[in-house]
């Protein structure tokens, strides 16, 4: 094989792309990955990981501010050094970015540096990036291949997504931020308007609030984090408001006026009233759109829908030999969804037996605000809408020994079962560390356990996880500590 000919070329090295590349190499396929900006994609560089680093600083801050509650005395006032908080977050990202480079080398995957374009079936032309890179950048990895024409039997598009811009409120990088600017502030604003209360918006709102910023969240839907169970969302909202966050729902940012060093947002509420909010900056967090442009998809006749490539259950597009996975292949736009979708796709390409399409109903979602929110499966409303006869279990953090000991006694674990079959349809949580708890229910759902199996499972004491069992017991009127 010529050294520009591969079994598989993957475009984009985000969690979707790089994980797929590793699995591809494990399956013995000659694999290359094209990247124009940063190994690890949005997730490692400007998404999941650096936000979690920032939120850890926020958490330390929150703890310090409550030190007294734990009998600890802190002399003087706790304050954040923006530069150092950001530097730590960038350092965490750099470490993982380097880690992906190492993994590529270890698995003998060629990294081709530059912007990929599909010119004809089976061919990828890599040129200079036409996209201005987000600064600061991590160094270009060593030993990469350069621009040129490459061929492959199978090409997987994993180009990810970018912030969606609302007309008239386009981010300008100065006064109107996207997650890129919000991730690396060079000063701490006094006040912020966050437009959109999905996971990204609410995480930044929570981070900045912990840093002492005056934060107003504006959300068009009825609830914050609209995809979450309404009851959970309501508890989260109350907790966030208690922390001093202002939240406007069923409200829309209609217009933004820019001042010299501030913005004024005109917010329209449901009743038709308009209020103005002046703040230092506005964060636009109204979702993301797939990176489907400038790839040559149109010329190949690849079908797209709402800014995403259309695929079947195994990542296949309508064009033979061309596949798409991850954010560019549609929601939910989550790193673990991208990874799994990629693994399914490449295992199918390799012809492994028993490859099953991903079940989108079993993808967990986590939001790392304070308090955290995590869920999997159907919400109570969705289950009812689907006509399911259900049983709902609830258990509050206030009745759990570990939560009380932690001083984190606000939260709820909610479970939803099919009344007839005992199938676990959904689990929803709000409270401290629930992002680490949810996986227990994800495993349960994947193994298709019923309430009976869960009731037979022993949970260690004292842990937050005991609430998971109590919630299950409660669904059947058997909760012990309630």
């Amino acid at each position: 094989m010529a050294d520009t000919a591969y079994d598989v070329i993957i475009i984009g090295s985000g969690p979707g792309g790089y994980v797929t590349a590793i699995r591809s190499a494990q399956l013995g396929l000659k694999t290359a990955i094209v990247e124009r900006e940063h190994l690890g994609g949005i997730c490692l560089n400007w998404g999941c990981i650096p936000t979690k680093a920032l939120l850890r600083s926020a958490e330390m801050m929150d703890h310090a501010n409550h030190a007294k509650h734990y009998g600890l005395k802190l002399e003087g006032k706790m304050s954040a050094d923006v530069k150092d908080v950001v530097a730590r977050s960038r350092g965490v990202s750099a470490r993982l970015n380097g880690g992906v480079g190492f993994l590529m080398k270890k698995n003998k995957i060629d990294v081709i540096w530059g912007e990929a374009k599909l010119t004809k079936p089976g061919e990828v032309v890599v040129g200079k990036s036409t996209k201005p890179a987000v600064e600061p950048q991590h160094p270009v990895p060593k030993g990469v291949k350069g621009e040129g024409t490459y061929t492959a039997k199978h090409i997987i598009v994993a180009t990810g997504a970018r912030p969606r811009a609302l007309p008239g409120i386009e981010p300008d990088g100065k006064l109107i931020w996207t997650y890129f600017e919000a991730m690396k502030p060079d000063f701490m604003p006094k006040s912020l308007v966050v437009m959109g209360s999905g996971a990204i918006g609410i995480e930044f709102a929570s981070f900045y609030r912990s840093m002492g910023v005056d934060v107003t969240v504006v959300e068009v839907m009825k609830n914050v984090m609209p995809v979450e169970d309404a009851e959970i969302s309501g508890i989260a909202r109350k907790a966030l408001e208690k922390r001093g966050m202002k939240i406007l729902t069923e409200a829309k940012v209609a217009k933004v006026e820019k001042g010299a060093n501030s913005i004024t947002a005109h917010v329209e509420t449901k009743d038709g009233k308009v209020q103005t909010i002046t703040a230092d900056r506005l964060i636009s967090a109204v979702g993301v759109v797939g990176n489907i442009e400038n790839l040559g998809l149109e010329a190949l006749g690849v079908k797209t829908d709402h800014g995403c490539v259309m695929i079947d259950g195994y990542g296949k597009t309508n064009v033979p030999g061309l596949y798409a996975i991850g954010d560019v292949a549609g929601p939910p736009m989550l790193a673990h969804k991208a990874e799994h979708e990629g693994v399914v796709c490449i295992e199918k390409i390799a012809g492994l037996p028993n490859v099953h399409p991903m079940d989108k109903g079993k993808i967990p979602g986590c939001t790392y605000c304070n308090p955290q929110v995590a869920s999997v499966g159907l919400t109570e409303a969705a289950a009812k809408e689907a006509g399911r006869d259900i049983r709902v279990g609830r258990f509050s953090f206030g009745a759990n020994g570990k939560a009380i000991a932690l001083g984190e006694d606000n939260g709820l674990i909610k479970t939803i079962f099919d009344k007839k079959t005992g199938e676990l349809l959904g689990a929803h949580m709000v409270g401290t560390e629930v992002t680490e708890l949810i996986q227990g229910f994800v495993v349960a759902m994947n193994l298709e356990t019923t309430e009976e199996d869960l009731m037979h499972t022993i949970f260690p004491h004292p842990t937050l996880s005991e609430m998971m069992k109590e919630s299950v017991l409660d669904a059947y009127g058997r909760a012990l500590n309630a």
Binding site: N354, T421, G422, E423, E448, T449, E452
Partner: protein
């Protein structure tokens, strides 16, 4: 979940194939089965294993996983042939048999000289049609079938099937005959063999054997039966023991007839001898009963004229 759904819908898990990890039956499989109407648990009092035992069989340990087995060999040192339906049925039924049936074995030697003599006499006397084709050509196997059927008639306590609740005492000896066919084996049944003349058994067997090889048997031609014969004599096997095929309680493994030294009236002599081994389901055919059945069988083989009356 799958188990719960199967129970709610009265499905027999043993009849459903799983598509989950390592072939586990998952919710989707149950839904598919419901749609196609597969796996409805048997409701009639058929002689097959009671439905309640089926989930237990499905849950029984299935040995090493495919991955565990394959790991023991180099990647390019084998090729993989997917199981067909017959292979799966054989595996399932025989595993079930060995796991649920306590097997017990009794062997005996039978002298064949008289039987062979009678056979050639009968074949020689077979009427011929206008093409000169004889109306029957008896084989040793045909005579074995008949002898076993008559022995079961004489020892009716051994002509039984086990169910958890009752002993099923059969009124006729329906003898299954293991026929080896490409890719496996199948056991067509000669019904009421104790009542049929040898010529009928012989011709029936010829037809069943032919259609078995063409895989053209109807289910009712190979399902059920009260006992079975497995004959490896033509392959020069001296003796072996067979696995009981439920709902049978017995199976007779037949070795080759060969000339062996025997002691007759205190002196060495040469006789044609075959060794047969009866496997029994000890739950319903105890050792002594098995021995009694074998003795009756041996009687018919060594005094073959008694099969004719």
């Amino acid at each position: 979940m799958a188990r719960r759904l199967a129970k709610l819908n009265g499905l027999d898990l043993a009849q459903i194939s799983g598509t989950g990890p390592h072939g586990r039956i998952v919710k989707k499989d149950i839904e598919a089965a419901l749609e196609k109407g597969v796996g409805k648990a048997a409701t009639s009092a058929s002689a097959s294993a009671p439905a309640s035992a089926a989930p237990a069989a499905a849950a029984a340990p299935s040995g090493m996983s495919s991955d565990q087995v394959l790991k023991l060999f180099d990647d390019d040192s084998y090729e993989l042939v997917p199981h067909d339906g017959m292979r799966k049925t054989i595996a399932k039924r025989l595993t079930e048999s060995k796991q649920t049936i306590p097997h017990f074995y009794v062997s005996v030697d039978c002298e064949l000289d008289a039987l062979l003599a009678l056979r050639s006499q009968l074949n020689g006397a077979a009427p011929t049609d206008k093409d000169g084709k004889p109306a029957y050509k008896l084989s040793v196997n045909d005579m074995t079938i008949k002898a076993l059927a008559l022995a079961l008639r004489d020892v009716p306590d051994a002509n039984v099937s086990w169910t958890d609740d009752n002993m099923v005492k059969h009124k006729h000896a329906d003898v299954g005959v293991a026929v080896s066919i490409p890719g496996g084996l199948i056991t067509p049944i000669v019904r009421q063999a104790e009542m049929k003349p040898l010529s009928v058994i012989s011709n029936e067997m010829k037809d069943l054997g032919k259609r078995a090889k063409e895989r053209k048997l109807k289910p009712e031609e190979y399902q059920g039966g009260t006992t079975a014969v497995s004959n490896m004599g033509m392959m020069d096997v001296k003796d072996f023991s067979a696995v009981v095929n439920p709902p049978h309680a017995t199976i007779l493994a037949v070795g080759a007839g060969e000339q062996r030294p025997v002691v007759k009236d205190g002196a060495l002599a040469i006789a044609t001898v075959m060794t047969v081994t009866l496997s029994t389901d000890h739950r319903c055919v105890d050792g002594a009963l098995g021995a009694e059945l074998l003795a009756a069988f041996k009687g018919y083989i060594q005094n073959p004229m008694s099969m004719l009356v």
